[in-house]
Amino acid sequence: MTDSIAVLGMVKVVYTLYTLAIMSLFAWFGYSLTAESRPKKIIRIPFYLYIALLVLIGVSIHILTFNKIPWVEMDLKRAEVTPDRTVQIVIEDHKFILPGDKVTINCNEKVLFSVDSKDLTYGFGLFRPDNSLVFQMQVVPGSKNDLLWQFGKNGTYTIRSTEYSGPDGVPPLKDAVEVQGCE
């Protein structure tokens, strides 16, 4: 499965390029607006084409990510998928309670993380050693909080609560998840 680090890298590139483009556009617009001589050539964009373009961008982002980011479809259809294994985790009184000392996962296993909160709203996220985020979900008390994931790389991951649960917080569990068996 595509690693989320690749998706985050794409986000960086796309948004940086967009930022530079839109700032340049506004700078040019501000200059042209106040310049005494009118600019010779203007790109003429008809209003309805512009609107169509915005609709296209708004919709195509979701179509693109649905088709290119594998965890989207897997997440939407997780109720129909039988996971290779289920990892039951409880959060109570600001602590993660794992089924054992450590969760060991085999490469390409479809793992369902099912996390239950006994008191407050928390979050559940897996982080790489460089602190980048693999995935996260909210953990709402009285609600089903499950996430299906497939790991395609070996590594150890830290579990953190990704939602604020008061100043007491939740201590992260360093290297609590290990993926092995990938080539």
Partner: protein
């Protein structure tokens, strides 16, 4: 004129508070308090940013840090932004409709309630370290193991006062639109309602397509008033939702204080979250976007002295924006696995993406209105208006990216959402739009008051723009690299980004200081005090007669 004399009487002594109408005074009172609360929010922001970098610099423990984080949006959104916006709108509606405001007394009650309410909530955080954050995720606000009950009581009381003040503002706005002033022929309600909701713009467009005469050649309500009218619907709904949550929390706290605590599991946390976000999102994705669009239209018309380009489309778009704002809250729950998939896809992704269109229309119409009037002078109001539009042009796509099931999985609750989206939208988009309004309305509200220093205004613009975008950018970079919001890191994991963001934050704070000094030297201390003294001019009109 000596510096000391300028400090006392203002630039050239041009501002004389005794000439102000009661409405001008109440507007200036509201805006001044709002600008001061902005400074408090900026200082809080810098404190948190410093603490992010090094937890030993400021004497803050965890509880205090998160209580500042709780107070920060209350101060920034309600104490500052609501006040500045309400102050401006309570002046603009009667000013644009050329009729007196419905009630000066109610306008005074509005700003006092919001200012006192903000102070109550801030005190609850500062003294009692009440820290459930603005999200108030159930059952955290009633977790009395972590928080003192009185702190919770005071915080919710403050929010309730703010919401009651908001309801007073709403009543005053609608009453001003609909009431018939003494001596005027009866104003019929129907055309005002149709125009207020922008239905006339939509009907004009339909008639144009069908080759018929326009439904209304002269709309009953001017376009900026339509935006205020429309945005205020969301303000009303939002106030009701927040009040209802506040009452719920208060009931739990009071029962706890009485020694009979109620069971928090009696409330379904996910339903509560949906209800709360539906209301809260009416601010972020409702009234802010609608009010801002209206402000852009008004500013473009005032700057160019011309009619707005594509008026009917703008009116119709405001109506669509209102409806869209009621159906987008699920993008805040894309990471809640109990939320039905259909709601995530429709409300969370598709309807939310429509904001790109509604906001895009507002940008297009405003830019075209400016473009058709070129060449324009590089005035303070023009540059701040362009800065404000740039802010939203940066922040809205960042939010649309976040409101995607695939990207949300790796961006939710990171610094991405609070940096490039929230802070750039609020600080660059919204605040620069408000500054544009402040600069253009300053001579109108002060009856010819003069700005002390254009150089200081230039510094204000550039420092605010660079500081705001820079801070958002560095927070965003930290977010993409995994830094969570609402989380403290103790080993300097993201210090490079946080130090750079802090430098940009300091620039923002400095720009506000320079702006305040410029304004104080423009109106003088005598003028500043005079704003808060009773008006000598009588009547509810916007401007002095004659």
């Amino acid at each position: 004129m000596s510096f000391f004399k300028t400090l006392i009487v203002g630039e050239q002594g041009a501002f004389r508070p005794e000439t102000l109408t009661p409405l001008q005074k109440v507007t200036l009172r509201t805006v001044v308090i709002g600008l001061l609360w902005y400074g408090v929010a900026a200082i809080e922001g810098m404190m948190m940013r410093t603490h992010h970098v090094d937890q030993t610099i400021l004497p803050l423990d965890n509880a205090h840090f998160f209580s500042i984080m709780t107070a920060h949006p209350i101060v920034a959104i309600f104490g500052s932004t609501y006040m500045v916006v309400f102050g401006a709108f309570i002046f603009l509606v009667p000013f644009l409709m050329k009729k007196p405001v419905y009630s000066i007394k109610l306008a005074n009650i509005t700003w006092i309630l919001i200012a006192v309410g903000t102070l109550c909530s801030w005190t609850a955080c500062f003294l009692y370290k009440y820290a459930p954050l603005y999200t108030l995720y159930w059952p955290l606000p009633v977790d009395m193991k972590q928080f003192a009950p009185f702190g919770g009581f005071l915080f919710i009381l403050g929010v309730a006062l703010i919401m009651v003040g908001t309801l007073c503002f709403i009543f005053n706005i609608y009453a001003t639109v609909f009431y018939t002033e003494p001596g005027h022929e009866k104003r019929p309600v129907k055309p005002l309602l149709i125009s207020g909701f922008g239905i006339d713009g939509l009907l004009n467009l339909i008639n144009k397509v069908r080759g018929r005469e326009p439904y209304a050649k002269e709309p009953a309500v001017s376009l900026p008033v339509v935006a205020i009218f429309r945005g205020t619907v969301d303000t009303f709904l939002d106030a009701l939702v927040i009040l209802s949550c506040g009452v719920l929390i208060l009931v739990y706290i009071i029962f706890h204080m009485a020694g009979s605590p109620l069971d928090p599991t009696a409330i379904n946390a996910l339903y509560y979250k949906n209800w709360f976000w539906w209301g809260l999102d009416l601010i972020a994705d409702g009234l802010v976007l609608i009010y801002v669009a209206g402000a852009w239209y008004l500013l473009a018309m005032l700057i160019t002295g011309k009619d707005l380009f594509m008026q009917n489309v703008a009116r119709a778009a405001l109506l669509i924006e209102l409806i869209v704002s009621w159906a987008v809250w699920s993008h805040h729950l894309l990471s809640d696995q109990g939320q039905p998939n259909m709601m995530k896809i429709t409300s969370g992704e598709m309807v939310t993406a429509f904001e790109l269109v509604t906001q895009g229309i507002a940008v297009f119409i405003t830019l075209m209105t400016l473009w058709r009037a070129r060449p324009l002078k590089w005035t303070n109001e023009l540059k701040f208006l362009l800065g404000g539009m740039l802010g939203f042009a940066l922040a809205v796509p960042a939010g649309i990216m976040q409101a995607d099931l695939g990207l949300n999985r790796v961006l939710h609750n990171t610094q991405w959402i609070i940096g490039p989206h929230v802070h750039v939208a609020v600080l660059v988009g919204l605040t620069m739009t408000l500054y544009s309004a402040v600069y253009i309305l300053f001579p109108i509200l002060t009856n010819g008051g003069k700005l002390f220093s254009q150089k200081m205004a230039n510094f204000h613009f550039w420092a605010h723009l660079v500081g705001g975008i820079g801070m958002g950018a560095f927070m965003g970079m930290a977010g993409v690299n995994g830094m969570l919001r609402r989380t403290l890191y103790y080993n300097g994991e993201f210090n490079t980004y946080m130090i750079l963001a802090a430098i940009c934050g300091a620039l923002l704070l400095l720009s506000w200081v320079v702006f305040i000094v410029n304004i104080v030297l423009s109106v003088g201390l005598r003028g500043l005090i005079g704003i808060y003294l009773p008006a000598k001019v009588k009547g509810n009109h916007a401007l002095p007669e004659g």
